[in-house]
Amino acid sequence: MLKKILLLVAIFLLSAGVASAAVSKLTAASDCTWPPMEFIDANKRITGYTIDYLEAISKAIGIKIESRNVSWDGIFPGLLAGRYDLVASSVTITEERRETMDFTTPYFEVRQAVILPQSSATNAIEGLKGLTLGAQIGTTGFFAIEKLEGVTPRSYDEISQAVEALYSGRINGVVCDDPVAADFALQNKTYADKLKIAFILPTTENEYYGFAVKKGNQEVLDLLNRGIAKVKAEGTETQLRQKWVGQ
């Protein structure tokens, strides 16, 4: 009996020791409603620029990274609650977000694009006065239109809903990251005929995507930063950009 107990204790200690030794697998959360950065393809697989980028990082650091689809307005609370190791979902690095999370080095630069109907003649920020604009809730696009004077902001759960609302004429425009705007307004068969990217919102500082980890999770942060550095150095980043964004 005593032997058995000792054996069990030994096994327990051993397994605990192995588990705490190193990160063996990372779980990433993405809101897969944001083409071409992260979305669900026809085969119900999570795909996109971010997902490929993660895969490249995974190869570079030799750690498996698993992707999970998580809805946007719950994605940061889930990270803070420890449900996954990182958020890889086109997250712009902002000062407010830095207060609650840590970010990796930037891996993509974005700007806020304004999608308007093709018939619209507006081509500058002054022309937006009096309009109702939509964006996805909790995105930098929504924060931007909240700040615009004379604009009625509308927060949709997903950017596709905002674009659909614009398409059916419920709102006057949509603001979102430029690669996503391009995907909807230029590449989408339904929307391309009626919508256009009118102009880019002028900003005082540049916007960059970073992967977000729980504050103080230095281990994962270092791993990812090492991976990003390698992906950039090897030229994979340029290839991925070509493949998904075309620039």
């Binding site: 307005d73 803070l80 977000r97 609650t100 909790g138 759960d157 659909e164 059916s168 419920r170």
Partner: protein
């Protein structure tokens, strides 16, 4: 189908629990909840104004829209419910089938799906203003529920009443409007109040249409500040206070309507 016995009370599952009007004790589940919610609201705002008071100040326009949708929705749902209820009891086969099919379909589709369908799906063909789309969706959905309330309410009136009215020379319509309905109101009104509260809670679903309501305002705040716990705490308390006060109102109404039943 339902049993043939006349139901005395119409049980509706999804509303708030209505306090028993004859319960005159000071400490009840209702009084505990309402005191607790109000004290919690007050204390949080008074002792920790940042973030709680800031959050509360962010919600009022959401509360107004919530009430707008609820009141307009219920006002439209009542006539729809009446027609449906009468239709379900009608001996006219076509009328009966239309009403019954409507109820079957609507009760079988989740309200959230109905909202998506009307706002995004139908939006491709008919564009209704946002408030109207929300009210129409709510009215169609709750019209079906209300139909069941009316049906049960009309059923609860003893058939002798109809027989007496008919033998006195009233036609069918007169019998319904002048004899049955005035009596049935007493049974119908409390569950209508109950549905009102249920609808108010369901307005949180119009977030899917990006319409300002209490929940949507809360989510906008939470996604910007990451004060998730604090925000949803306030949202929950605001909803709770509103529904508790309304359920007391329904209870008082029930007590007045039960005037003749008092011992």
């Amino acid at each position: 189908m339902k049993e043939e016995k006349t139901p005395l009370v119409i049980a509706v599952g999804d509303g708030a629990s209505i306090p028993d009007p004859s319960d005159t004790r000071l400490v009840t589940a209702w009084s505990i909840s309402v005191t607790g919610a109000l004290v919690a609201l007050f204390c949080l705002c008074a002792f920790s104004p940042d973030p709680y008071w800031t959050i509360l100040k962010f919600l009022p326009d959401g509360i107004i829209v919530t009430f707008k949708i609820t009141i307009l929705g219920i006002l439209c749902a009542i006539p729809i419910g009446f027609v449906t209820g009468v239709g379900r009891l009608s001996r006219n086969r076509v009328f009966n089938l239309i009403a019954s099919t409507y109820v079957e379909i609507i009760r079988g589709v989740p309200l959230l799906v109905q909202l998506c369908f009307i706002y995004y799906g139908l939006g491709r063909f008919v564009r209704m203003p946002d408030l109207m789309a929300a009210v129409v969706a709510m009215a169609i959905c709750y019209g079906a529920y209300m139909g069941e309330v009316f049906r049960a309410g009309i059923r609860s009136i003893d058939h002798g009443q109809t027989e007496a009215a008919r033998s006195l020379g009233f036609n069918r319509a007169q019998t319904m409007m002048l004899v049955v309905l005035p009596q049935a109101w007493r049974t119908i009104l409390p569950p209508v109040g109950n549905e009102f509260i249920a609808l108010l809670k369901d307005t949180s679903l119009v977030s899917i249409m990006a319409m300002t309501n209490i929940l949507q305002r809360g989510r906008e705040y939470a996604t910007r500040t990451f004060q998730v716990f604090e925000t949803y705490m306030m949202v929950a308390l605001v909803y709770l206070v509103i529904t508790l006060l309304l359920s007391k109102g329904v209870s008082l109404m029930e007590a007045r309507l039960n005037y003749y039943d008092r011992k």
